[in-house]
Symmetry: C2
Subunit: 409 residues, 2 copies
């Protein structure tokens, strides 16, 4: 049976060109997919035997899409947060056992089943913040065995949980301890073993690489992504986060789905990515959580015709948040996005970064019925009341999964 | 009947000197006030006929105290948020009808009863973020009639709602439009009419003034606060927020309960306030929401022996958040507080700023049974998982008011 959600004060549906279809006093009908939406009066006359639910005059948008997460971690790293604020350098923290390598140790130490149990409650939290689709990366295994374990755990989670998860192989997230003195050998393993194995097992849609001084160079990143493409994985790149690396230009060259962070992107990188249709995935949560002050040049990106996604970068080291609406606030304040641009970046833009705009991120015919009823009638209040969760109800594929802010069993 | 809350994984109770009483596997007994707490085994043997409730191994702290809010506003100012991010100056926003004067127009336009209805749901939100006591200011009336209306509305709210509200007269928040060309006349009204009337009606405990270039000078602020003290109101001062004004030194001279913001406080101001026992009330939410980058010198304040409170500054213009735990994150990242210092500032420190440490902000005998059960067993996770609400259950004066994150009717 279908649902007719009526008395929607404002329905906002993002279009591919960055504009919005906006209807006051609207209704939307759906089963697991969207059937149609429009002005309420016309919709009610065609309601048939649909179950009618009253949205109370509230705002309805598509479910949010968080296109960059590292949700599959074993342990939080709160001690490192404290050390960083006390002025410890990255090197000191690493020497004390912190950083990505700490997450690698804890991830390797637990079983796939245990990892699933740790991820599932985090997926609930995403739903409570209005997020109905996420991307999730490996990258804490740093061996074929443990990278695939991470991806399999994410696949199991998606089978057990309403949220949609797009999986990304990030075997080139760091150099594992055991190959510190022979990074070429680890890259060979990634290219000749991990990528083929993940692709063959159907465990990943995307392949990402951390292209940054001290991690992987542009040349190394290119080798990884060329191999990924040869195996049918779509490239993504962590690029120009802490310094300019040329990663954005590589993203364009590789026709990546998206490039991530981009706090130090060059003008040439912006132009090339925009021309190549690579989505600019901005992660302001990592800037603030690391206490930094350089944000990506979003206005220049938009002026150049680039498409922006906003994501949490949820991870235990540099951005321990799952509050995507709060990233909209940071996008507005520090990247100078308009509120509509920020909302677009957290819906359609996120789906564009995952190449799934036909499925979610907007509310068109035959797309998943992923939608949020907000506890307000004005989308401007979402980033404005910052840090306060205005998500009221969430439907995922037509099923009510959050009601009055509470997760339904 | 009393309650015995057992199986507390960690109980944290702040002491006046900034240290903590910390007990693992603890229990606490209370009716509307705290009876005692200690290691669980000893507590259970003395349980008597208390109702026993299991805290599930979680962390318990005092309820949070938000010692600086402007919760009694009529309308949000989301349009101004958008304008500011688009690069409009304060002057342009004011010319377009924004700023405090916009809040004055909307506040004056509604009745006291209507104002009560608008405040009450915001008090619910505070409880959901673990805040059991707030300070709340007038300052959007800017006439004796409307300032008193605001304070009476707050008094009515406190009578109808579990949260404790300490009221502050802030008639000197701005110069009202009708006295733009005769500010001396408005100050005379504040001093000779508004302050006496508010004090006589028992409507305020504190009197605050916005001491800042372009608003009230140090001399004007002194006149207001001298009058306030003469009428039994305790001084507070918005000081050194956007520029150095000498407001901190005035706070010391006046023996204020606290001085607020302090982003530009001088070293002399720090010394004098610390010597005078004036609490340093830090409001990092306003820094971030305004897109600024100068935070108060918290480490210097602590090194000088000053007591810090952390608050939301919840208001419709410069800090539209009610998430006090998120202010802890900002305090850690940008003011370089330790996590324990941030938690202290949001509990004991807040109570110190309100001169109510005998009543709340800690969990000692005969204090209000205001406590939070957090959805974690480690206080470091509260600021770490930033923007995500870890409040599970809240007791206010011994009554369960939030359960599993949901407000009870």
């Amino acid at each position: 049976m279908s649902i007719l959600l009526k008395n929607i004060g404002k329905l906002l549906n993002p279009r591919s060109d960055g504009t919005w279809d906006e209807i006051s006093q609207a209704a939307i009908s759906f089963d697991d997919k969207v059937l149609r939406y429009g002005p309420e009066a016309a919709m009610i006359s065609k309601a048939g035997d649909a179950e009618i639910i009253d949205a109370g005059g509230k705002l309805v948008t598509p479910g949010l899409v968080d296109s960059h997460t590292h949700v599959a971690f074993a342990e939080p790293r709160q001690a490192e947060f404290e050390m960083r604020n006390a002025g410890k350098s990255y090197q000191e923290i690493a020497a004390a056992g912190g950083g990505i390598r700490s997450s690698v140790r804890s991830l390797r130490a637990i079983s796939e089943d245990e990892l699933v149990e740790r991820i599932l409650p985090r997926l609930n939290t995403f739903l409570q913040y209005g997020v109905t689709t996420i991307e999730a990366k490996s990258g804490y295994g740093l061996s074929t065995e443990h990278e695939l374990k991470q991806l399999r755990a994410l696949k199991s989670c998606a089978e057990r949980h309403p949220i949609d998860i797009y999986r990304t192989l990030l075997a080139a997230h760091e150099v594992p301890d055991e190959y510190r003195d022979n990074r070429a050998k680890y890259l060979d393993i990634v290219i000749n073993e991990t990528i083929p194995a993940a692709a063959e097992a159907g465990l990943a849609t995307f392949c990402d690489v951390f292209c940054e001084e001290g991690v992987y160079s542009v040349d190394e990143s290119r080798r990884v992504l060329v191999a990924a493409k040869a195996h049918g994985l779509i490239p993504k790149i962590h690029a120009d986060q802490l310094s300019y690396s040329g990663g954005a230009e590589l993203a364009a060259e590789m026709s990546a789905a998206s490039a991530e962070h981009l706090d130090y992107i060059s003008d040439a990188g912006i132009r090339q990515m925009a021309d190549a249709g690579v989505v600019f995935c901005l992660l302001p949560g990592a800037v603030i959580f690391l206490g930094l002050d350089r944000y990506p040049a979003a206005r220049k990106i938009i002026a150049t015709g680039g498409q922006i996604a906003l994501s949490t970068d949820f991870n235990p080291g540099s951005s321990a948040t799952q509050n995507l609406p709060l990233m909209m606030t940071l996008g507005c304040v520090f990247c100078k996005l308009t509120i509509r641009e920020a909302l677009w970046a957290a819906t359609y833009g996120g789906a564009a970064a995952l190449k799934c705009t036909d499925w979610t991120g907007s509310l068109n015919l035959d797309q998943a019925a992923d939608l949020v009823i907000w506890n307000c009638d004005d989308e401007r209040l979402i980033p404005y009341y910052f840090g306060v969760n205005l998500v009221q109800d969430v439907y995922k594929s037509g099923r009510l999964v959050v009601k009055d802010g509470k997760l339904l069993a």
